[in-house]
């Protein structure tokens, strides 16, 4: 899952440095993730994992770092599987 998220960040994040040089907990906004790029990342993550971010996760904090995105996706995938 994390590799997919890193690939999405490479494609849509517009980051100032290669994603493989960014630690899981490093601040993505400090690394150049703009507000709009975070939206593009969100939409790409939704498509890749077939999930939909609920309103309470549609915020800067969910995309603060790679670990946070992984957690959010993990919980959404978990919810989906629990429902199914």
């Amino acid at each position: 899952m994390q590799q997919t998220i890193r690939d999405i960040l490479t494609k849509h994040g517009g980051l100032a440095m290669p994603v493989d040089q960014i630690a899981d907990t490093a601040d993505l906004y400090a690394a150049g993730l703009s507000s709009f790029a975070s939206v593009q990342v969100m939409l790409a993550v939704e498509e890749a994992f077939d999930v939909e971010f609920p309103d309470n996760l549609l915020n800067r904090k969910s995309f603060q770092n790679i670990a946070a995105i992984t957690d959010a996706v993990g919980s959404l995938v978990g919810d989906r599987e629990a429902v199914a």
Partner: protein, 304 residues
């Protein structure tokens, strides 16, 4: 009858607004314009001493600048582009034929280099960037323009073509956030003088789609934009009549606005929705200006 259309009907009946047959597109009567002119003089009285450079742009902007602004990322549903007929004789004949039979004659219209201005300050940023680095102490600008937003509605406070008066400040973070705070204080004082009940709250912009929900949440979470709300058509859902917007260094980076030392400028703007303020006054004090409270009339400079 709902309150929105009843206020609109009263404004039409009093000759303050003039129906054009399109929702949100109105003519203005003399008395309505006079209120706006007087309120603008009040704005001048508060802001005139700050030394802002005044600029007035027409209500259309350079399409290339509009594209750079990123407006379409957030509000594609509100934008208005100017299209024109660019064909030859034969195209002209088929256009007239289309009009004759009532089919869609606009399909062959081509985009021009002009887009309707969505906010008064949009033409400013590229203009200032062209001048090079900002002078020491930053920049302060005074703008007013008709603006277009495509949102037809029978709420007279949600017009498609309306005027926005703005001050825009460029400089360091501290400089521009102090500017924003001083206008929040001034705004409260001004509205108190003209007898309007106000509240200040974080803004709720109509960003488009699911992506927009995230942009809206971010804007709120970061306290980037505040609005001064005044009851116009509803006390429960008051209308944003002023906005106080801190762009961080987003516009500075986008347009290449730099300070004297080469660092990226922060920017902030304060906007007055002139029609909305006039509507709030008519809604609160009545359609007859002669009957408005004496203190309000004095604040706006009406004789005796």
């Amino acid at each position: 009858m709902d309150m929105q259309s009843s206020l609109l009907d009263r404004l039409f009946d009093a000759g303050l607004l003039i129906d054009t047959g399109v929702e949100g597109l109105y003519g203005r009567g003399g008395a309505f314009e006079d209120v706006i002119a007087r309120f603008e003089r009040m704005i001048d009285a508060y802001g005139g001493g700050d030394g802002a450079e005044a600029m007035r742009f027409p209500p259309g902007m350079n399409r290339a600048h509009f594209e750079t602004s990123g407006y379409m990322k957030s509000f594609p549903q509100l934008a208005g582009t100017v299209h024109s007929f660019c064909g030859g004789d034969l195209d002209h004949m088929s256009l007239l034929q289309c009009m004759e039979v009532g089919s869609d004659w606009t399909q062959e219209q081509k985009a021009t280099d002009i887009v309707l201005t969505p906010a008064a300050c949009y033409p400013l940023y590229p203009t200032i960037a062209r001048r090079g680095p900002l002078p020491a102490g930053g920049g302060l600008y005074d703008l007013q323009s008709y603006c277009f937003r495509h949102e037809p509605s029978n709420d007279p406070a949600r017009q498609q073509l309306f005027r926005m008066r703005e001050y825009v400040c460029m400089g360091t973070q501290e400089h521009v956030t102090n500017f924003r705070q001083s206008w929040m204080d001034r705004g409260l004082e001004m509205m108190d003088k003209v007898g309007l009940d106000v509240a200040i709250d974080v803004a709720n912009d109509p960003f488009f789609g699911r992506a927009g929900r995230m942009l809206a949440n971010n804007q709120r979470d970061q306290n980037l934009k505040f609005e001064l709300l005044i009851p116009v058509t509803s006390a429960a859902k008051p209308t944003a009549c002023m906005s106080f917007n801190y762009h961080q260094d987003a516009f500075g980076a986008k347009w290449g606005l730099t300070l004297e030392d080469g660092s990226v400028a922060h920017t902030a703007c304060v906007g007055f929705g002139l029609e909305r303020i006039a509507l709030a006054l008519f809604s609160r004090h009545g359609m007859e200006i002669a009957e408005w409270p004496q203190a309000v009339r004095e604040a706006l400079g009406y004789p005796g």
